[in-house]
Symmetry: C2
Subunit: 195 residues, 2 copies
């Protein structure tokens, strides 16, 4: 079965892909808003892992709503959640199985059982989250033994998906100080291969 897995180029979604590759025909799908070319970082990571890759531009209205929420809240949670769900909806239109790299201990994005069931029922797909039964420690140890990653602050190791673009959009719409308020220093990872 064809599985479209939302891919940021980071360690969680890469590990999710490794868990699923023996069971589905996995394509790594990077959602973006056409604002920057940061999705090419995700494409390079997908190539390094040996997976098929697709980039997909989401509607500009999604970016606008997501950044509105972030600006209003002063933190990224609702906006990221909104963009993530929009990305899942988009991928669900074209794959039999949709997946992401959400972990047990993630605070955002999260996909509740109700949201998962709704996606499945409305689109006739299976939604699978292979890392949702793995905590942070287990993920870190599996990453250590299966992937080669670079890590650093978000400015130096931009994520390949919509998160980097949402930062850029906030800078354009408001100010860099809003970016710094919404996204305090955050360590990112980028996958460069299998170990």
């Amino acid at each position: 079965m064809e599985c479209g897995l939302l891919f940021s180029g980071g360690k969680d979604s890469a590990l999710a892909a490794l868990l699923l590759e023996g069971f589905y025909d996995v394509t790594l799908v990077t959602a973006h808003f056409g604002v920057t070319d940061d999705w090419t970082h995700a494409e390079a990571a997908a190539d390094a892992l040996g997976f098929g890759f697709e980039e997909r531009e989401l509607d500009a209205a999604v970016a606008s709503s997501a950044t509105d929420r972030m600006h209003e809240d002063g933190y990224p949670r609702r906006g990221i959640q909104y963009a993530h769900e929009a990305a899942l909806e988009s991928v669900a239109a074209d794959y039999q199985v949709i997946a992401d790299g959400t972990r047990r201990d993630d605070r955002v994005p999260t996909v509740s059982r109700a949201v998962a069931q709704s996606l499945e029922d409305r689109h006739g797909v299976d939604y699978v989250a292979p890392l949702s039964g793995f905590g942070r420690g287990a993920v870190d140890r599996l990453v250590e033994s299966n992937l080669v990653v670079e890590s650093g602050p978000s400015e130096q190791i931009p994520k390949g998906d919509y998160e980097t673009e949402l930062r850029e959009l906030i800078r354009q719409r408001w100010d860099v100080s809003v970016v710094e308020t919404v996204f305090p220093d955050h360590e990112q990872t980028r996958v460069v291969g299998r170990s």
Copy 2:
């Protein structure tokens, strides 16, 4: 890393093992109370799948408390949950990683994030539930394409783990009518190989 995965001989725990085998050195562990030899069904399933196997007898007090709860409630939920947590505690003493086959849509047993974190902190292990991000439909489709299973009512296809023994203990302590009240007709599966 050595992973002890609680194994009933049924499809869910078998599929969980297949998901983990590329990442851990997986041993299938069947917990029982020494009441019947039904654990040998789980051993046969483990052999058919090519995994190492361990049977482990839990304390009789666990069976006693679990059946007390089932008799009191008239349904199995609290008793199964109690036995499952006792089995996880036992396995956590001897493996670096402990696992089970709980699914996203399971009503029982469930392992909440808090229980998972507590197991991990107290025993210094990782607890992983590889199917907890998969719904019933996804599990069924993966079982169909990866495993050969027999299915039928519980009396004909006894589970290899403690559940069959709890039924037998309830029959011994009370009456077969209590068994029928607590466990209404339930379809079980037994894995006979890989497809």
